[in-house]
């Protein structure tokens, strides 16, 4: 573990290392302590709102890291990563729905929406979802299976570039339509909500809130370390080699199919885990999470943060989402314009994202000296 951490930081300058460690301490230790230890009246109190917001953004940041692995290092732009995020959320949401027990509006053992549809028993695919462990297996297994099947055929057929992106987009859209249907058995357009507890502990308690928050942060940190390890390994070198000159790699004896598929499945699984952490924190999951716009937004975080850097997309996720939560309150009707402008501006002026901008600024100030 220690050697992994030092490997993670080795690539950065001393200052960057310090800043990163400081941010980790602030987000994962200081904020939770302040939240739990101080009352709402205190000047130092970290509000419920801020904890929930940051917890949510850390889940998004995991998705950004996963996206960077596939887009930045393998050169595959997915415009459907929201699907895997939502599937992870739904898989864990099934457990949360079952954990409500007979305390729902209709006081039935079945989830409310099933009672409403006049269903008498659970559909077969809900079997075992009252166990946290099984739901955890579903969180990882279902998206991995879907990504595996889709990726196998797409990469085997050598579908690339914009064609691949469009197919991923179409797929998340198709799943959204599927999940909108009541007959699918996932609550239709209302999705899952009104969660009560996890393992018997109330979901609204401060301890649970902080627990989920810290867990999200740890998973984010682990995702970063894992991806850092991967891209620095031989595997990562082959992956970027395939990105830069696929036919050359192929004629050297590397089969791009298996390399791309491995990265693709891992990326999907990371998104799904992020989704599973996200749902109990925001208290709802519905098919809206699968809308194409959500997936495009993921790509924007990564573009803003800078592809192929891993830490950049984390920064991008924080900046864009903090801006979003401010703008959608201050001037809600303009947010989409701002987002669109941001994307165009980044693509045109700083294609390397924030790291590219930083590099350029230091160059300019260096020349002026």
């Amino acid at each position: 573990m220690f050697s992994l951490t030092s490997g993670f930081f080795r690539g950065q300058i001393g200052l960057g290392k310090l800043v990163a460690a400081g941010l980790v301490l602030l987000l994962l230790v200081l904020f939770p302590l302040l939240h739990l230890a101080t009352g709402p009246a205190s000047l130092w109190h970290v509000s419920d709102y801020l904890i929930t917001l940051l917890g949510k953004i850390m889940c998004y940041a995991i998705v950004a890291v996963a996206m960077d692995l596939i887009w930045g290092y393998a050169g595959i732009l997915s415009l459907g990563h929201g699907l895997y995020f939502a599937l992870g959320g739904y898989a864990f949401g099934m457990y949360l729905m079952r954990a409500i027990g007979p305390e729902g509006v209709y006081q039935s053992d079945l989830p409310d929406f099933m009672v409403f549809l006049d269903w008498k028993r659970l559909p077969w695919y809900w079997t075992g979802t009252d166990h946290l462990l099984w739901s955890g297996i579903l969180v990882i297994g279902v998206p991995a299976l879907l990504a595996g099947i889709f990726g196998y055929f797409a990469f085997r057929s050598r579908i690339k570039g914009v064609y691949f992106s469009i197919i991923t987009q179409a797929m998340t859209y198709a799943f959204m339509l599927l999940f909108f249907r009541n007959e699918t058995g996932f609550g239709g357009n209302n999705g899952f909500t009104d969660f009560k507890r996890i393992l018997g502990y109330s979901i609204t308690s401060p301890e649970m809130r902080i627990g989920l928050y810290v867990l999200s942060g740890l998973v984010l940190l682990l995702s970063l370390l894992l991806c850092r390890f991967l891209v620095a390994s031989k595997f990562g070198k082959v992956l970027t080699a395939i990105r830069d000159a696929e036919s050359r790699a192929m004629f050297l004896g590397y089969n791009p199919l298996w390399y791309k598929l491995t990265a693709w499945i891992l990326s999907a699984v990371l998104c799904a885990i992020a989704g599973a952490l996200y749902v109990p924190q925001v208290g709802i999951i519905n098919p809206g999470e699968m809308s194409p716009a959500n997936s495009i937004e993921i790509a924007i975080w990564v573009a803003v943060g800078g592809r192929g850097t891993l830490w950049g997309p984390v920064l991008g996720a924080f900046i864009v989402n903090l801006a979003k939560s401010y703008c959608t309150v201050a001037f809600p009707e303009y947010w989409l314009f701002i987002l669109g402008f941001l994307f165009v501006a980044v693509t045109l002026f700083i294609p390397e994202g924030i790291p590219g901008l930083a590099k350029r600024l230091t160059l300019v100030s260096w020349r002026k000296r």
């Binding site: 830069d244 000159a245 050359r248 050297l252 004896g253 590397y254 089969n255």
Partner: protein, 277 residues
């Protein structure tokens, strides 16, 4: 070293090996008959355009063969067929006596010992010269190995040796994208050598090189022949004259003439094809 070259006409090889292909070791190239590559009656068409029409060719083990021909003669399509990029509509391609290349994909063919250099130099621009060569090195190239592999010291020696051979010693840590055009061509050739191939396919290897670089490339190729078999497709006739032993002229997807450069250049049909009627 050149004495064992047979200058037999193409298409005289027996096709009887095909049914027994699966019996032979898949990774062993059997050159017991002195021939490393057979193409027999290979035909390929794209949307009705016949790129290859019954191309037959055989290359001896250790031979350096130059292939020339006007644009559209099918030179690149032939390489695509040998390396698995294009599946022939009919005909057979054998590597050694028993390996049927028409049933293998690109990575399998590469691992079996056929290296290919593209027309446009293609290297991994974001990787260093060292990493380019290391990635090319003959090794287990499956995902599982790539996750756990550690660089062996003999790999380091092998890379350094190759860098010396291709004139890039001292450039180990340079990003390949920053190299000159000629250096990229050499780096790509170096990557092929790292694969430890039996057969090298080189598509216009001296395109865009200075005279000096061309001369050094010629020397390199001559030193490689014997140890490896080489097929060189080239338009630069001075370069062909410098390295050629046997020259094959392709025209409209089949072999028009074959023999020494002198013989070929004085062939009436070849003159017609090149100069027009």
């Amino acid at each position: 070293m050149w004495s064992h070259f047979s200058k037999s006409a193409p298409g005289t090889t027996s096709g009887g090996e095909a049914p027994y292909a699966h019996v032979l070791q898949p990774r062993q190239v059997d050159v017991s008959h002195g021939v490393i590559l057979y193409l027999e009656e290979v035909a390929v068409s794209f949307d009705g355009f016949k790129a290859l029409r019954g191309l037959s060719l055989s290359i001896d083990d250790g031979e350096l063969r130059c292939i020339i021909g006007p644009n559209g003669a099918g030179k690149t399509t032939m390489m695509d067929c040998i390396t698995g990029k294009t599946r022939p509509d009919s005909g057979s391609i054998f590597f050694g006596q028993g390996m049927d290349l028409t049933r293998m994909n690109e990575p399998e063919i590469a691992s079996a010992g056929i290296g290919r250099k593209f027309q446009k130099p293609t290297v991994f621009e974001h990787h260093t010269v060292f990493d380019n060569l290391e990635l090319a090195r003959k090794q287990d190239k499956r995902v599982r190995r790539s996750l756990t592999s550690h660089q062996a010291s003999e790999a380091r020696d092998q890379v350094c040796e190759t860098m010396k051979r291709i004139g890039l010693a001292g450039h180990a840590d340079l990003a390949a994208g920053t190299l000159s055009h000629g250096q990229k061509q050499w780096l790509e050739i170096g990557m092929l050598l790292m694969q430890g191939p039996r057969l090298l396919l080189l598509d216009e290897p001296v395109a865009g090189m200075t005279d000096d670089e061309t001369e050094r490339t010629a020397e390199l190729f001559l030193s490689l022949a014997g140890e490896h078999s080489l097929i060189v497709v080239e338009h630069d006739m001075a370069f062909v004259a410098r390295i050629a032993r046997t020259v094959t002229v392709l025209h409209e997807g089949c072999v028009l003439a074959e023999g020494s450069l002198d013989v070929v250049q004085n062939d009436q049909r070849v003159v017609e094809v090149y100069l027009g009627r």
